[in-house]
Symmetry: C2
Subunit: 281 residues, 2 copies
């Protein structure tokens, strides 16, 4: 099978899988998720994703479906079903159990674990991204990776209709992140990125990239930056679990300077090396 689904231990072809109508994901979007690359049947950076996932569950008070080691085994057993060693994306979500619809938490409903795995290559970093900007109208819990994603859906559609790859959200003048990625600037040799607060997701790729900047001696500034600064950046970099380190060519049809290709290339190469080392047989 190339596309497989999992629901509380039940496994089958993704397009034949179902979930109960009373799963709170269905009518409240009441759950959180994670996604990561898979190569050679190995999920990349599982521990980082577990750190975030268990923290998110605590933040929105959903009971973990199982402990870390049990989940690791469940995921590895699931990935062992893949028919080849190609690139896939593993997605998993945890919802606040199955119960008749009622806003407050259901008593003793536990949680539901759903997983999917589908073919998906990493984003090709030789391809530059075009972005548009849009006011960030999302809620104030963007640090939690929830499945309440309508604003990200609408924004992504707008980007697509504009012939672009992603949307840069901003709250007033302040740049936050993209619809389903983080965004960073290079300026005068420094790597500048929005600080971890409730306006952005603490991206795993962002975290790895910051470590790589440190190791390469690139100064880091975790600080708020504005739309004007964005447009004046030497380079813009977009990251997500499936987007290692994408260079940006334009925003709203205006070219970005692209004055520091060497640093972009260094980060891309370092990241991809790390990725392949950690997903090798």
């Amino acid at each position: 099978m190339k596309e497989i689904g999992y629901y509380n231990g039940k496994i089958g072809p993704l397009d034949e899988m179902t979930v109960p109508m009373n799963d709170r994901a269905v009518y409240f979007g009441d759950g959180i998720y994670e996604a990561t690359g898979v190569l050679n049947k190995r999920a990349f950076a599982l521990d980082d994703h577990f750190d975030r996932m268990y923290k998110n569950l605590e933040l929105i008070m959903i009971e973990p479906p199982m402990d870390r080691e049990a989940l690791r085994k469940e995921i590895n057993d699931f990935l062992a079903l893949l028919e080849d060693d190609d690139s896939y994306q593993l997605y998993w979500q945890v919802s606040r159990g199955t119960a008749a619809r009622n806003h407050r938490f259901p008593m003793g409903a536990g949680s539901n674990l759903m997983m999917t795995v589908r073919p998906k290559p990493l984003y090709d970093v030789t391809k530059e991204m075009k972005l548009i900007t849009m006011e960030d109208t999302r809620f104030y819990h963007c640090n939690i990776k929830t499945i309440n994603l309508i604003p990200a859906v609408i924004a992504s559609q707008k980007a697509y209709e504009a012939g672009c790859d992603e949307v840069v959200f901003h709250r007033g003048d302040v740049v936050t992140e993209c619809a389903h990625s983080n965004i960073h600037m290079l300026k005068d040799g420094k790597f500048i990125t929005h600080p971890l607060d409730n306006f952005i997701l603490p991206g795993i790729t962002r975290k790895h990239l910051l470590k790589m900047c440190e190791q390469a001696g690139i100064p880091i500034e975790e600080r708020i930056f504005t739309l004007d600064e964005l447009m004046e950046a030497d380079e813009l970099i977009v990251t997500a679990s499936s987007v290692p380190c994408a260079r940006v060519s334009e925003v709203n049809g205006k070219p970005i300077a692209k004055r520091d290709g060497a640093t972009v290339k260094l980060l891309q190469d370092t990241y991809l090396k790390y990725y392949y080392e950690n997903t090798s047989k």
Copy 2:
């Protein structure tokens, strides 16, 4: 059957019903919903709910699953399955189709119609409500009745844990609405309610109540009001589809004056009369 589920024409006992794992409601909360009271197998104010629902679908660009008259027939056929004429709640949601997970809209996926019906009496208006207040951290699309409801879920749980019935949301000093209701004040004989903007849901009960105020000669002010004004109100009234017109006794443990019981009673009686007239055999 007392609890029935419906999914794109398929019908069964609610707790046995399922939806595809790839329904976009499941992993993006990508859908809208409506809910209304049912008595004598008749859904209350269906046309008002249809008006809002088709407008919402347009606002978030989801294709309607069928036209208004076809949907009316589908709902009435569904309610005809009820085994008695008791009070029920009809819930229906429309999601942006079934497709492999990808933020932008799926091509040609149409939409999915899901319905449930379960026993539920109207809120007993002889019971007064206790409220707590909480900063409104939701997104800026609260005019659309989406299933992205985590903040409402968390708030409702906080109210429950505080021994209260609902949460009053406020953005800074400005009162918006409750977690799953609208809120209104009576002050010096006037009915004061937050104007229709992107911070509150255009409640159907709110709409009916405004009409009843007009007919009864009660002056209406649709305007922003503050937390201080809320605490100084003569009366506070909470409305939702299952909450005709509930009187509020206290907010954050502090008593509300309750200086205009006559008007509250008038509105409750007028509303319930209207409700029963429009759900009679």
